[in-house]
Amino acid sequence: DAGITQSPRHKVTETGTPVTLRCHQTENHRYMYWYRQDPGHGLRLIHYSYGVKDTDKGEVSDGYSVSRSKTEDFLLTLESATSSQTSVYFCAINGQGFYNEQFFGPGTRLTVL
């Protein structure tokens, strides 16, 4: 899957706890993205990164933060998890910029009780 791994693959947590999801790539791609997938909504962009330490918000960024301290890793943090953040989270990368397809990781299924 294009050299992208996500960890953990599954996580169950309780409301109010912090959670960090990790995306790791071996492709040296510049652009990285975090999406969430929910039935009836498709995939929605949470945050993206256009370089080390450079990030911006997507359409559903409330309650999420991200960090990228090195090219290969992009972390997504839920500061205080809520049940509405139960979802499947996908990381994607794009090395060529505009007009080019994104490559997706295998996903992390997060359940917030």
Binding site: G42, L45, Y48, D56, F98, Y99, F104, P106, G107
Partner: protein, 116 residues
């Protein structure tokens, strides 16, 4: 704001028959359109894209898509369906962020089931 609509949540097709998965879009300016497929418990995989040029775009696994500017549509097609084509299909439209990279807006997805 740009958007994509996939009007059918579910499409059922008999094996060997042609299939169509519908997508319409709304953008200001030129549309840049993509189709992705998701198999169970997997991430999305790129199928094909339209940037410019021929209205009929060919992609992976025998799929093709027809771009129709007047109808603002980008329907996914295949002449003869296989059981292995059963999956969730997403249409997406691209825009450029303030930092020069692409951002995708996805449709809600269409579940395609091929009946043996």
């Amino acid at each position: 704001a740009q958007s994509v609509a996939q009007p059918e949540d579910q499409v059922n097709v008999a094996e060997g028959n042609p299939l169509t998965v519908k997508c319409t879009y709304s953008v200001s300016g030129n549309p840049y359109l993509f189709w992705y497929v998701q198999y169970p418990n997997r991430g999305l995989q790129f199928l094909l894209k339209y940037i410019t040029g021929d209205n009929l775009v060919k992609g992976s696994y025998g799929f093709e898509a027809e771009f129709n500017k007047s109808q603002t549509s980008f329907h996914l097609k295949k002449p003869s369906a296989l059981v292995s084509d059963s999956a969730l299909y997403f249409c997406a439209v691209s825009s450029v962020s303030n930092f020069g990279n692409e951002k995708l807006t996805f449709g809600t997805g269409t579940r395609l089931t091929i009946i043996p």
